[in-house]
Amino acid sequence: MKIFSKISGKIHELIDRYRNLGYRAKKKITFVIGRIFLYYVLIELAYLFILPFIYVITTSMMSYKDYMDPSIEWIPSAIHWQNYVDAFKGLSYFGFEAAHDGGTQFVSSFMNTLIVSLGSALLQCVSCAIIGYALGRFNFKGKIFIFVTVLLALLIPPQTTIIASYGMWASMNSINTFLPVMLPTLFGLGLRGALFALIYMYFFQRIPNAMDEAARIDGAGPLRVFMQIMLPLVRSATAIVFIFSFVWHWNDNCEAPMYMYSNTMMTLQPKLENIQYYFAEMMGSSGEVSDFAKAMMEPTLFAGCLLVMLPVLIVYILGQKKLAAGIERLGVIE
């Protein structure tokens, strides 16, 4: 009890001292406390987000022996680069018949993935901006109808339509071309195009009416208002749409592998599974891979995943800086 009253006395003393401080000192103290709180919370949360990633990285460097050793959980006894070499071989491997030819397979599917991701991301930045602009800036009859179609496109799970879509593309002779993945992005659809349209819509709604009214009074036509006034104002929307679109297309494990499966048109994601078959052939078995064998090749698989996701990480870090650089410009909005 005595201790308690002592402590509360101390606290009161501290509060009194704080009250008697000047404005600047007060501000400094709240600033420091705020920073401590900020870092504490962020580090705790970041731990939650980064742990699986660290798990992937450390596991990818473990030899098979380390991986099976229960006493080694995080830090491998020695860095085992062989996993990366194996993963690269697995990624350049194709089928049991074809001999893998020193990485050209990897390069071609890397290029395919790059074309799909970069092309679709750029196309979606334009096409989704157009529909987002129509929804966000204009009040016209029938707008709610278009809005509902956007929601529908967002909602319809690809499983519902994928069989029918495949039939459609097959009848147009465009299986194993870039068309099935990239043509819809030209119209604002494609992989989560509706979400991007919504993002643009809400960003365009943000902009005060005075902006385009001024431009119109000065005699700018509708296209010019859109290109020169509105698009530069939603820079941060463009940045996130580009980043998301690029990353999602890069990681797409459903649509692109479905339409592009031939030897020369394959993307990287489905090739990750090739690592398993590569291993199966190394071990002399053919066909099905057992669960145990799958577990055994996990370090190599993780190494492959890291190889595949490296470009995406680079794009994000670069794009992220653009995003932050937009702040000052966007501050001018009002």
């Binding site: 987000f49 699986p52 519902t160 339509t161 043509l183 993002i199 669960d291």
Partner: protein, 297 residues
């Protein structure tokens, strides 16, 4: 003289109105023009496949003839729909998935907003944290399936977190299952974090300076400046979180759908179920949008 000029101007104005229509009408034309690419794309890539899948839902199909054009499949009318509704297991799963998203969505949105506000501050090391919170999106794909499954050889990462002693005091007051659930929810919120971040960056700095001069604390400026300004994005993120939880692969309804399609003979039932499910979710979202519309403006 002056009167004549006014008259002349009125005449000219009238002429331009005749040429382009009234202001309203011009806006309508422009709006529709900007919507044309979307409408074309929607009809081509959505409506046609959708029409085929609706057709499927009225047939008991054979693999060789999935849309009932060839005459091999039998037309059954609404039987598929009735079968789905009568199946008690399906009803329970659908109901549960709705209930789940009902509590997931507010958590995801609130958490994302909280993190985005923290990340918006200007502090050293900000870039590092921003990259870290984006990791789930990058890792998604094949690798996520491995990380979150309980198959041989992989650990369920979030329950392993307790044993490694992280998460400070959080782990002491909560048990494993809650931690791993919260972990999964947080992991699914990085898209929302990034959208909020971009939204927060579009709030004019002048507004903050003004309220600071008026003596508002950071707390007050959050409630009276930040939140009203980014309210559309709260709604956008809620819609996205709703959709995400409805069509996520881990959603049990998607599991049922896949089971039906992989059996090969139940395409009709699968598309009937996915149609009803989709309409129900659309209804939920439309109600949500209409309810929050008043709050927007």
């Amino acid at each position: 003289m002056a009167k004549q000029v006014v008259k002349l101007k009125k005449q000219q104005a009238h002429k331009t109105t005749l040429k382009f229509g009234s202001f309203e009408r011009r806006r309508t034309i422009e709006g529709w023009t900007f919507s044309i690419p979307w409408i074309v794309g929607f009809i081509w890539f959505m409506l046609i496949p959708l029409f085929l899948s609706v057709r499927t839902s009225f047939f008991i199909t054979k693999l060789t003839d999935p849309y009932g054009f060839g005459g091999e499949s039998t037309f059954v009318g609404f039987d598929n729909y009735i079968d789905v509704i009568k199946d008690p297991a399906v009803g329970e799963v659908v109901f549960n998935s709705f209930l789940q998203s009902l509590y997931k969505v507010p958590i995801v949105v609130a958490f994302a907003l909280f993190v985005a506000v923290l990340l918006k501050q200007d502090f050293p090391g900000r870039t590092v944290f921003r990259v870290i919170f984006f990791i789930p999106v990058i890792l998604a794909g094949v690798i996520m399936a491995y990380l979150f499954s309980d198959s041989i050889g992989s650990i369920s990462v979030f329950s392993g977190m307790l044993s490694s002693g992280g998460m400070g005091f959080l782990s002491e007051i909560m048990d494993v299952s809650i931690i791993s659930q919260i972990g999964t929810i947080m992991w699914s919120s990085s898209v929302e974090i990034l959208i909020f971040l971009a939204a927060l960056q579009s709030v004019p700095i002048i507004l903050y300076e003004v309220v600071e001069l008026d003596g508002a604390t950071a707390w007050e400026s959050f409630w009276h400046v930040t939140l009203p300004y980014i309210s559309p994005f709260v709604i956008l993120n809620a819609i996205y979180a709703l959709v995400d939880s409805f069509v996520d692969v881990s959603n049990p309804v998607m599991g049922i759908l896949e089971e039906m399609t992989s059996a090969g003979t139940k395409y009709g039932m699968a598309s009937a179920l996915s149609w009803m499910y989709m309409l129900a979710t659309l209804l939920v979202i439309l109600i949500f949008v209409l309810l929050t519309r008043r709050w927007l403006r």
